[in-house]
Symmetry: C2
Subunit: 337 residues, 2 copies
């Protein structure tokens, strides 16, 4: 068991973290990778750039709210946006299964194009491989992205300005992507169906930055959910995180499904959600700006950075108790993104 | 048949070209992509950069001369080098099959690291996905690369300076990669085994540029072989290409296997070979420099740019005849890279 790859290695949780530390950092040892940010930030010839990559293997490839093409553009755009960068260019690497319908490919490529236009970026280089039937599942997409970063935002990706008193904000309901994928896969019916939240967060981030919001950290919530992001953020730092359960925006359908399946909404995957850490005085203006966007209608304050319990994430439960939030241990739902 | 993806769509030949034109260019319509260079070149904040991507699905993943990890680094480094850029940074996107041996993954990651060091680049961002057993074949790797380009080399990737009288050079034996993969797959035995030529071409290109060789065009020879590269290079241009069959460096084993299987060496895949178009007076110095490298020991003049037969590639055969060289029509060997 321990000497082969398990689904949990792709979960974005503890096993992924161990694989990164024990294997990738061991061999690809360099200061930029070691930061383990969503984007790697470097300077070249006076320009400061952000660079990131993600592969997308979501199953099913078409789901309520989007498809693998939309996901592949939004996901990488969001990784750039989270570093404070303006996304500029994307690459597109497709692996196709022999026999894949060209009409489906056209739908996916059209989605990619549409999302790229919305995000104001261009797909400028690509590659297509075809493998024999049965050697991959329909289509896998890799996108890598390049963005440009203003020096005044360079502190964001490392969370260097995070300090006690900072406010935590999420831009809406947690878990929509995972609920939508699970419902599509298991053929579950809701009275009010949940669509994936897959969306480009660049417009809302751009508005926040332009609006003068003092952002100390941003991270999109994908595999591993908000728990994993907060846990990574606080790890080995001199501050703690306190989150109020009652303030977390969670849909009734999500809560219900979690109770049914024994899932924890803190670990549900999202594809258009982010957690924002802002200076205390920026919290009000930030939420006001976010409420002006479809991707931020349900933005809410969910917690605060504390000087107590450094390195830890604590959830203040509805019933008055406190529990420590750790990273996802195994895997919740494979091929979620 | 016509409305699904076929193996030939991934061949690097005519079907790949049609897919790019009819689908990708239709939707991802932008001037940078339209150039269809191996790397896309753009300027940002005064820096001129090259950006490229490739996915690697080679089967078997370990083969004489290398493995999928070495291939994934060299291939993308070479795409950058061919534009005249100095490769700087790579991303690494892995898709792993559940149950893949961790020891094999370590070997692959170690190869990637070793090749990155040889090429003087850093792998600064990555992503790992795991899919269920049977949903991909062992491991697929995507790498995207960023390089920096001096303005004086900016003409190279578009072949803007190519003119009649320019000399064509290849850096060694054609087809080693395809022969090695085929032999590994079919369990063929040679008296003198052929290893894949997979190698980073950045060092030799760097020496050529630093040595003042007036390079008008470079392209690495991968899927589709030298035929496809020359054909693409000449397409819609006001020059022709004349290649002498007798001057092409081809191993006896390769020639023999081609005769046995009915393959044409012009279409064999390589992973450490390039064609170089240089000003006439640079041909001698170029070959001299190349002979100083392991990757250039068998460098040879193979042809010339002509003012006659514009847009066409002609092969002067050993027997005195002439034939038109077209692009690969179907697919020769799937999952070659």
């Amino acid at each position: 068991m321990n000497n082969t790859i398990l689904l949990g290695h792709g979960s974005g949780g503890i096993m992924t973290g161990n694989l990164i530390r024990n294997l990738f950092l061991k061999y690809f040892n360099n200061p930029l990778l070691e930061k383990l940010s969503d984007s790697s930030v470097f300077s070249v010839d006076g320009a400061t750039l952000a660079f990131t990559t993600d592969s997308y293997v979501v199953d099913p490839i078409f789901f309520p709210g989007g498809d693998i093409g939309k996901l592949a553009v939004c996901g990488t755009v969001n990784d750039l946006a989270m570093s404070g960068a303006k996304p500029l260019y994307l690459s597109s690497g497709l692996i196709l299964e022999e026999g894949f319908p060209l009409a489906d490919l056209e739908t996916i490529v059209s989605s990619m194009s549409e999302e790229a236009q919305k995000a104001g970026i261009q797909i400028i280089t690509g590659d297509t491989k075809v493998v024999k039937k049965g050697q991959c599942d329909k289509v896998f997409i890799n996108t890598a992205g390049i963005g440009i970063l203003e020096d005044r935002y360079r502190h964001i990706s490392g969370g260097l300005h995070i300090r006690p008193g900072d406010q935590l904000i999420v831009n809406g309901f947690l878990g929509d992507h995972e609920i939508a994928i699970m419902a599509a896969r298991e053929n579950l019916k809701f009275e009010e169906p949940v669509a994936s939240d897959v969306a480009s967060l660049h417009p809302i981030v751009h508005a926040l930055l332009e609006g003068g919001v003092d952002i100390h950290f941003m991270r999109d919530l994908t595999r591993g959910g908000i728990a994993s992001v907060l846990d990574e953020m606080a790890e080995n730092r001199d501050f703690g995180v306190s989150v109020s359960e009652a303030s977390l925006p969670i849909r009734d359908q999500t809560q219900g499904l979690c109770e049914l399946y024994g899932f924890d909404p803190l670990y549900l995957a999202n594809e258009g959600k982010m957690v924002l850490v802002v200076a205390r005085e920026s919290a009000g203006p930030a939420i006001e700006i976010m409420h002006g966007f479809e991707t931020g209608t349900h933005a809410a304050l969910i917690g605060v950075i504390t000087s107590s319990k450094p390195g830890m994430v604590l959830l203040q439960s509805r019933t008055g108790g406190t529990r420590i939030v750790t990273r996802l241990a195994g895997e919740q739902l494979p091929r979620i993104c």
